[in-house]
């Protein structure tokens, strides 16, 4: 009997709280379909890792060292993401890349805010990258900078990505008028040749590697995935990357990250602060994009709908769909999906490069 029930004596209230958190994650994944590929395995792993003397911790620790400690899983996931993305709308209107840049403002603003609230520079930078709205980038930067709050950062990053349909409309309505949201935009796509589509991932990888060498792996894997998609001769590899590889890595990543969600390191006041700062990052990304759109309108002959700036937040493709829906809500005949999608994929590129720049700036100091 002692062997069967002896373990109960090691049970703590904090562990039970972590079970509840794990349960909530599973509930949100299944019932609300919020990032289920990640939240479900994370929730399950969270519960099992918070059992007294759990053998799960040891097993997941091995996986963590094999795939997250060395940043392998997020990089492999990027091949899948790259293979999923169609850069067509961006190549048709390259200026949209500027919206991707503008909507990274939240990252750098949050870096300063996290510093103000007493976080070490490495943690402040890792928290700020939640604003990249890109899970793998958050994991990569947090791990490279050896942040003490990796798990909280990952939970915040994926939670807010799932909350884009709530956070972004609220922020956009705060800073735009009904007239601005109803601005119609003509879509005149330029001709994109296959050569451009093939050379684009190679050129972007080369530029990113030259400008921010730390982003070479991030951008390189993303663009390699895209090259698989665009080359036209590796259809089966492209499909494998989009489906099998991305699913397998997501599955392992969620479960593995849960090992960092143990009560003693997760239930600290800093976790709540990280959730708050993550929200600030998402909000100021959105503000940055929208205000950049308004700034362009000061000079542009053809007005643009400033909402497409908010789509530069990455979070592909959810953000562009949200923006397109908001435009249709104001005017049922206002179709800005393609422009928003262009800004959205621009955000994907910009967020990865932002991650590289943060590593280039902060990495040598920590």
């Amino acid at each position: 009997m002692t062997q069967i029930f002896g373990n109960f004596a090691d049970l703590t209230v904090q562990m039970v709280i972590m079970w509840i958190i794990g349960g909530v994650m599973i509930y949100l994944a299944i019932k609300k379909e919020m990032e289920p590929t990640l939240l479900l395995p994370m929730g399950f792993g969270c519960i099992l890792c918070n059992m007294p003397n759990s053998g799960m911790v040891h097993t997941l620790q091995i996986l963590f060292q094999a795939g997250v400690d060395n940043e392998l899983f997020p990089l492999l996931l990027f091949i899948g993401i790259g293979a999923m993305i169609d850069f067509g709308p961006l190549l048709a209107d390259p200026k949209l890349l500027l919206f991707g840049a503008a909507a990274q403002f939240g990252i750098f603003f949050t870096l300063s805010m996290a510093s103000l609230f007493g976080f070490e520079l490495r943690d402040a930078a890792s928290i700020a990258i939640i604003g990249a709205a890109d899970g793998p980038t958050s994991i990569f930067v947090a791990q490279t900078l050896k942040s003490n709050y990796t798990a909280a950062i990952i939970v915040a990053a994926y939670s807010y990505m799932a909350l884009v349909p709530i956070v972004q409309p609220f922020c956009i309505r705060l800073v735009t008028t009904k007239e601005e949201r109803a601005i119609r935009m003509e879509y005149t796509p330029g001709k994109i040749t296959k050569t451009t589509r093939i050379l684009f991932p190679i050129v972007v990888s080369a530029i990113a590697s030259l400008v921010a060498p730390d982003s070479a792996a991030l951008v390189g894997f993303l663009m390699f995935g895209n090259l698989l998609r665009e080359c036209g001769v590796l259809r089966s590899l492209s499909e494998c990357a989009q489906n099998t590889l991305a699913n397998l890595i997501s599955l392992l990543l969620g479960l593995t990250v849960a090992v960092r969600m143990q009560a003693d390191s997760f239930l600290v006041p800093q976790t709540l602060m990280i959730l708050g700062l993550g929200l600030i990052a998402f909000m100021f990304d959105t503000f940055g994009g929208v205000f950049f759109g308004k700034f362009i309108n000061l000079f542009a002959k053809k007005k643009i709908n400033p909402m497409i700036g908010a789509a530069g937040i990455s979070a592909f493709p959810m953000s562009s769909r949200v923006i397109a829906k908001m435009a249709r809500d104001e005017d049922p005949y206002n179709f800005i999906l393609m422009q928003a999608a262009g800004a959205n994929v621009a955000g994907q590129v910009a967020s990865v490069i932002a991650g590289g720049l943060v590593l280039a700036m902060i990495g040598p100091l920590v």
Binding site: K95, L98, G100, L116, G190, I207, V211, P269
Partner: protein, 52 residues
């Protein structure tokens, strides 16, 4: 909660440098895309002429 004003002021440098840095990189990529589009258009033009 520990408020660290000095760290905040020091970090403003990263805010400005980082955000502007992305604009610079994006500017370079935009220039490259326009260059790529022109280059590939010319390639196709040449290929078209050869065929005809």
């Amino acid at each position: 909660m520990l408020i660290n004003v000095n760290a905040f002021i020091a970090s403003l440098r990263y805010m400005v440098e980082g955000w502007l840095g992305i604009f610079v990189v994006m500017g370079i990529i935009i220039a490259c895309i326009y260059g790529l589009n022109r280059f590939s258009d010319k390639l196709e033009e040449k290929a078209g002429k050869k065929e005809s």
